[in-house]
């Protein structure tokens, strides 16, 4: 196809991508370099139904609107927001490294910083859920593939349910089930014979529940893709392997898995990206005390009485950088394979 025709073909998508993906990202980056103007405060008297009149501090709105008209974006802060305690916490980490009581102390104190706390859970979620969900999805795909035709439809439908349910609703359902009077919570108490057992109280058990939820909700995607992939495994090869006396496991190990490897790369890529922005289960499980994620931090900055757009912007940019770092190895591999094929 001539370059000109190709360009004409993709121009509409390019425009849409620039408008709806590139521009918003640029605006987030610009936002993250700015903070609010210094507020001009005045003392005024305020009277309320209770407690009568008191002297209170107010923002001088007239003076502020002049400042805003002059510089609508607010003050330029450079990388200040990125480096402050709410994000990379450069000074705090420096202080911790300079003065501490050994490795354990360093880890505890860095974990106490909000960004690193969120990052640790986000990474653990990514690297535990992605492989487990893929393995589970693959296992379901293999099982469904051997079912007789009549039962395949209903079984596939039920296997897809976790993906069909809205994530927030799905996590709420599981959350109610693990409550002490929910079906899972009550059963666990009975099985372990421990009336105080609660999956919500300790950080370890909360993390376990969140990871369990992650695997449950992510497995169907892997299942669908792998199931489609299984239909393309060459029957001739499988049959000749059977004639050669290969067991079912050997056929899976030496024929099916290598055949599906490129698909697995694709699934891993999508799942890693998905899991890096984990958010709904934290809200659904009311797990803020024990687990936070980068997306939850953005939500927290924007949801309070006072909204911090610069801070939310900086966390967003750091999330994008995180996704890029995570995906680099997979992308490099795909690129190499692509080049290999072309040559």
């Amino acid at each position: 196809m001539p370059h000109k025709t190709f360009f004409a073909f993709i121009l509409p998508s390019l425009i849409a991508m620039a408008l709806f993906i590139a521009l918003p990202i640029v605006s987030v980056v610009v936002q993250s370099f700015h903070v609010e103007h210094g507020r001009i405060l005045v003392e005024v008297e305020s009277c309320q139904p209770f407690g009568g009149c008191t002297k209170e501090t107010r923002v001088d709105t007239a003076a502020m609107s002049e400042l805003k008209a002059a510089q609508p974006m607010g003050q330029f802060n450079g990388f200040g927001t990125y480096l402050n305690r709410g994000h990379l916490a450069v000074n705090e980490i420096g202080a911790i490294l300079a003065n501490n009581n050994g490795f354990g102390d360093i880890v505890t104190r860095i974990y106490n910083l909000p960004f690193y706390k969120a990052l640790s859970f986000t990474l653990v979620f990514c690297f535990v859920v992605t492989p487990l969900a893929m393995a589970l999805g693959f296992a379901i795909a293999l099982a469904v593939n051997t079912l007789p035709k009549v039962t395949k439809g209903p079984v596939i439908f039920f296997s897809l349910l976790p993906m069909i349910i809205t994530p927030l609703i799905g996590s709420l359902i599981l959350y109610w089930m693990i409550q002490p009077n929910g079906i899972i919570g009550a059963t666990l108490r009975h099985v372990f014979n421990d009336p105080t057992l609660s999956l919500r109280q300790s950080p370890a058990l909360t993390w376990f529940s969140l990871l369990f939820y992650g695997v449950w909700t992510n497995a169907p995607f892997s299942f669908v893709v792998f199931y489609a992939g299984l239909q393309t495994v060459p029957a001739d090869t499988l049959e000749s392997a059977m004639i050669d006396g290969a067991s079912r496991w050997e056929r899976i190990r030496y024929i099916v898995i290598p055949h599906l490897a490129p698909l697995a790369t694709f699934v891993a890529l999508v799942q890693l990206m998905d899991n890096f922005r984990v958010f709904e289960p934290i809200v659904g499980f009311s797990a803020e005390a024990n687990a936070t994620s980068l997306s939850w931090m953005i939500f927290n900055d924007l949801a309070g009485d006072a909204q911090l757009f610069g801070s939310a912007g900086a966390t967003s940019v750091l999330t994008i950088i995180g996704v890029v770092i995570l995906l680099t190895p997979v992308l490099i591999r795909t690129w190499r394979e692509f080049n290999h094929k072309v040559v």
Binding site: E36, R39, L41, V44, S46, P49, T57, M64, S286, A306
Partner: protein
């Protein structure tokens, strides 16, 4: 018997409502667009204001829990999306900070004959909002359980701790206490409540410099932690609705709960047997030998947007004055603790009024209070979970607040 009674009540309510529908609001023309939080009392005010609709007057209301996120952008545009924003102590602050609401003195003089002087929220001498209901957290307790343990009504958090110990020791209840300690808005509100009870100030006078890093702050944190020893181990996942359900299930003997949920408690929908009849509403407890109740007082009121025509502003003000009229309050005395003239407090309001009379302080209205609330909401969780000590928790709150306040331009 009960369904018949309900039917009778609703018939009376309908008759009253129908009567009020013909009420003359005296509005000639204009558009009234109300934005409010979503709970029963506000929905009632909204529907009463909607009675003012006529051929030349349109009245619409949007009651949503997301009102805080909507109000600033919605009132910033010109003309504003809403002409009326129903606010509370904390949600009026963002509107004031961005100069989005208008002074109401002229409107009060012209149309506000039915308002009482203490309903007017005056800032810098100008009336910026008209309050119509009060709210506060206060003590709900189970008289039967306390009687069995031989304990009088607790007046302070120290009394509550002693009572909880006794109830637990006597084997009457395993987890006699509950509090809305869910990290987020609720947990921060618990801290603010108790800190107000110590008499301390949150900020250094006249500046945004945080001043909670003192013995009052330590005392508050210690008390909050001590209470959790008598709570369900899942206490960090309970918000106000959560503890309401636990209490109704008969699992809790004492809790400091919202006055606005007292009506729901007295209705007793879904409550276990014996809970409602034995529940007593009392004033909020004090802390550390202080005399001030350790809770914040709240008011709900309405404000009128700045970026609208004077005609719409006058129409909106009149419709809202009709919405909070003494007639509406007389017909619905149990829905809220009204601040409107002629209101006779019902059993649901006892706790709030006792708390207000004992001299509880209002939730602070400083422009940077929201930032402190957010800092508290995320930084206290680890302390409450027992993962760090009180000194560290206060230091974390200060660090998080300082970071946010610098970004917000206050420091």
């Amino acid at each position: 018997m009960k369904p018949f009674f309900m039917l009778a009540v609703s018939t009376v309510a309908l008759a009253l409502g129908a009567g009020a529908a013909y009420a003359e609001c005296g509005i000639e023309a204009g558009s009234v667009r109300i934005l409010s939080n979503d709970f029963e009392a506000l929905r009632l005010v909204n529907t009463t204001a909607e009675e003012c609709a006529s051929d030349s007057v349109t009245v619409t209301a949007n009651a949503t829990a997301e009102h805080k996120n909507l109000q600033v952008p919605a009132l910033s545009i010109n003309p504003a999306e809403y002409t009326v924003a129903v606010v509370a102590n904390n949600s009026i602050v963002p509107l004031m900070n961005d100069d989005l609401i208008r002074p109401l003195d002229d409107l009060v003089a012209e149309y506000g004959a039915s308002l009482q002087p203490n309903q007017l929220i005056k800032i810098d001498g100008k009336t910026m909002a008209v309050a119509f209901m009060g709210n506060a957290q206060h003590l709900f307790y189970r008289k039967d359980i306390l009687d069995k343990a031989g304990i009088a009504e607790p007046k302070s958090y120290e009394d509550i701790l002693a009572a909880a110990e006794k109830i637990k020791a006597d084997g009457l209840m395993e987890y006699p206490l509950a509090a809305s300690d869910k990290p987020g808005w609720d947990l921060a509100a618990e801290f603010v409540n108790a800190y107000l009870g110590t008499g301390g100030e949150f900020f250094a006078p006249g500046s945004a410099e945080l001043a909670i890093d003192n013995e009052n702050g330590m005392k508050v944190l210690e008390t909050m932690k001590a209470l959790t020893a008598y709570m369900d181990p899942d206490y960090l996942t309970f918000d106000a609705n959560g503890i309401q359900a636990e209490y109704k299930a008969g699992k809790v003997a004492m809790m400091v709960q919202w006055g606005s949920l007292a009506g729901d408690m007295l209705k007793g929908e879904g409550a276990a047997e014996g809970v409602v009849e034995n529940t007593v509403m009392a004033g909020a407890p004090t802390i550390g030998g202080g005399t001030v109740p350790a809770v914040a007082l709240w008011w709900d009121g309405f404000t009128i947007a700045k970026n609208i025509s004077d005609e719409d502003a006058a129409a909106s003000f009149q419709a809202m004055v009709h919405g909070i009229s003494p007639e509406m309050v007389a017909a619905n005395p149990t829905v809220a603790t009204w601040l409107v003239s002629g209101y006779e407090p019902g059993p649901n309001a006892v706790g709030v009024i006792a708390t207000a009379n004992a001299g509880a302080r209002a939730y602070p209205m400083q422009p940077y209070m929201g930032l402190l609330h957010t800092a508290l909401s995320s930084e206290l969780a680890e302390y409450m979970a027992g993962k760090e000590d009180a000194t560290q928790a206060l230091a974390d709150v200060k660090a998080a607040y300082d970071t946010a306040a610098k970004e917000g331009g206050y420091l």
